[in-house]
């Protein structure tokens, strides 16, 4: 059946909280073309990469020694008849080493090294109790392992907090003009960005951002527009002195066949190390690209229907209408799970 019945419903008004200020056309200082594939690694990433590679090679070397010369090593430590255990430890070292060199899931592999170190230290302590143990040598080896552990911990923490870069796009049933204007009116951002509590424009290019998250986390920073091409593109970055280095851009491109506008957003965050850094990491979640995707989805909903659909507050045969396991994720109380 052709949809011959009229499919016309009253178009909801877009409730822009404020009218975008008219801007002189900018564009002189777009820092760099942010291209996901060829973007230069941040200093963070370069450091973490070097450390991981070194530790990976070390793991493989040590593992090979344990597998090839278990008898010699055991003899030297005075713990004969423990060759099989040594070989197993060697296999573990090699697996971690290969994992580290593969470059994927680096933080996880580094943390698994820390865990391995802890096991080694425990085994060494137990070995020193054996009858023929050479306790001097075991103590020396323990000290060396402890030093390596410290290095592993530092590298793991750094790798866990590397800069986050992500890019997502969505198609919106609205003109590039409408989409651009809604976004350009920066006060609108908190309406669809889940962690952004407030954006206050301060003059033509500067704005003040307040971001909040789980555990009472609250961060503020100043940002500036680095590019503003009406109906085409917006780019911004945080100003020096902000707790998170943040760069972002959004492009509006007319979709082929008069099918609305493709909105492409790209953001990068480089949180600092230490406690604050790890708090910020929880804010970004395990899946930052999913966060960005949900932000864009809410942007689309606002433009197309004028509201964001929710089930918050509906009845159910349990204490809460929404499900902790599934719906809470979208509300920001829980991380995205992998299916």
């Amino acid at each position: 059946m052709a949809p011959e019945q009229t499919l016309e419903y009253p178009t909801p008004p877009i409730r822009a909280e404020a009218v975008p200020p008219t801007l002189p056309r900018g564009g002189e200082m777009r820092e760099k073309e942010v291209q996901p594939e060829h973007r230069p690694a941040t200093p963070w990433e370069t450091d973490a990469h070097a450390a991981a590679t070194a530790l990976g090679l070390f793991s493989i070397g040590l593992g090979a020694a344990e597998i090839i010369f278990p008898r010699a090593i055991a003899g030297w430590l005075g713990i004969r008849r423990r060759q099989i255990l040594l070989r197993a430890l060697g296999a573990r070292e090699i697996a971690t080493g290969i994992g580290l060199l593969s470059g994927r899931g680096r933080a996880t592999w580094l943390w698994s090294r820390v865990l391995g170190d802890a096991i080694d230290l425990g085994l060494l302590a137990a070995a020193s109790q054996l009858r023929h143990a050479k306790s001097r040598r075991i103590a020396a080896v323990s000290a060396a392992v402890a030093a390596v552990t410290a290095g592993d911990v530092v590298a793991s923490i750094r790798a866990s907090h590397r800069a986050v870069h992500t890019r997502q796009s969505i198609t919106v049933n609205a003109s590039p003009e409408t989409a651009y204007q809604f976004w350009r009116c920066l006060q609108n951002l908190p309406r669809f960005m889940r962690h952004v509590e407030l954006v206050r424009p301060e003059g033509e290019r500067r704005s003040h951002w307040v971001v909040s998250g789980p555990g009472g986390l609250r961060l503020e920073w100043d940002a500036e527009l680095t590019d503003d091409q009406p109906n085409r593109l917006l780019a911004w970055r945080s100003l020096p002195g902000s707790p998170v280095r943040h760069v972002g851009s959004v492009e509006f491109e007319r979709a082929p066949g008069e099918r609305g506008t493709v909105v492409r957003a790209e953001v990068e965050y480089a949180p600092p190390a230490g406690r604050l850094g790890s708090k910020i990491a929880t804010l970004l979640g395990r899946d930052p690209s999913q966060e960005l995707r949900e932000d864009l989805r809410r942007f689309k909903q606002l433009l197309e229907t004028g509201e964001i659909i929710t089930t918050e507050g509906q009845p159910a045969g349990r204490s809460q209408g929404t499900s902790w396991r599934y719906d809470a994720t979208v509300r920001g109380e829980r991380e995205y799970v992998r299916f």
Binding site: M1, P3, Q5, L7, Y9, P10, T11, P12, T171, N173, R259, G260, Q290, R293, E294, R297, K300, Q301, E304, T305, G306, E307, I308, I309, T310, T311, E312, G313, Q314, P315, A316, G317, R318, G321, T322, S323, R325, Y326, D327, T329, V330, Y336, R338, F339
Partner: protein
Amino acid sequence: MKAACWYGKQKIDVVNVAEPRLLNRHDAIVRITTTAICGSDLHLYNGVVPTMERGDILGHEFMGEVIHVGSDVRRVKSGDRVVVAFPISCGQCFSCQHGAFSHCENSNPNAWIAEKMLGHSPAGIFGYSHMTGGFAGGQAQYVRVPFADVGTMKVPETLEDEQVLFLSDIFPTGYMAAENCNIQNGDTVAVWGCGPVGQFAIRSAFMLGAERVIGIDSVPARLKMARDGRAETINFQESDVYDALMDMTGGRGPDSCIDAVGMEAHAPAMIGWYDRVKQLLMMETDRPFALRQAIMACRNGGTVSVPGVYAGWIDKFPAGAMMNKAITIKTGQTHAQRYMRPLLERIQSGQIDPSFVITHRLRLDDAPRGYDMFNHRDGCIKVVMKPWS
């Protein structure tokens, strides 16, 4: 208010819950006068649809009276008697504006879950797991209807609830299944499954010009209802379906085949156990026995239309038959809103009275019994419930 809630596999309870309120500006609250149990609800009942939670209110086939509307609702008002379409659709997105209401891009708050499982998300659906939004359903005394302007249709006072209730789902579903067959004069259409969806598919296929319709099932009462609708029938427990179909169609095979069974198909012993074991071990989420058979039996160049619900993965899919025979496959959750008005006209003009499928009329309090009977099938074809008696 009272509501039928899901508490696990084959565990339904009618409990007291809070009354729904308006949550979005396009919402309406409907006081439900009649509601039904759908074959799709049986997939939830039997625990084969992921992302259900204890306490979810079930039900996506319901109608009633509008008692509150949100500030942006324009076409319906308090006091209107309406039928509600089962997909929740915004009316503004690309899909909705092309009549693909069950693909609405703005009505599923949990679209991300569905995207992970299916690649793209369908629309939100009432009472149908959190993957389709976790919306409270309509086997209850009241329900909140988001995007009420799009999802509700006023019905004339001259028609009884039971005559218009199925415009919410199964009548449009059977009709769209037949429409997807692209029926030409003289065509033969075979319909796997003579449940409520199959029954409407049979009658719709005749309305759209099929010359012969063949219904396939094993439940005598359902086969009889199919014959009452002018179909010929095959009992798949008594004869080999492929052989019977070839015999009936002179070796050519049906021009179109409709799979109105879905992911919990019954199958003869060996192959049936194969799929059951795989489903148990989560190596396959759906049991596609009817679908395989439909593809094998369909004539060269014919169409296989799949209204039966599948949720995940299947095994032993006859790709060779599909390719070599140049089969067209058409599927989908029904774009119910698109069919409600034209099908209402068919009811008004007396071409069909959808209440023929009803075999059981219960109170909402009897929902657990209703689910059990419908699941056992013998003699029970469609259950409707009255929430206020």
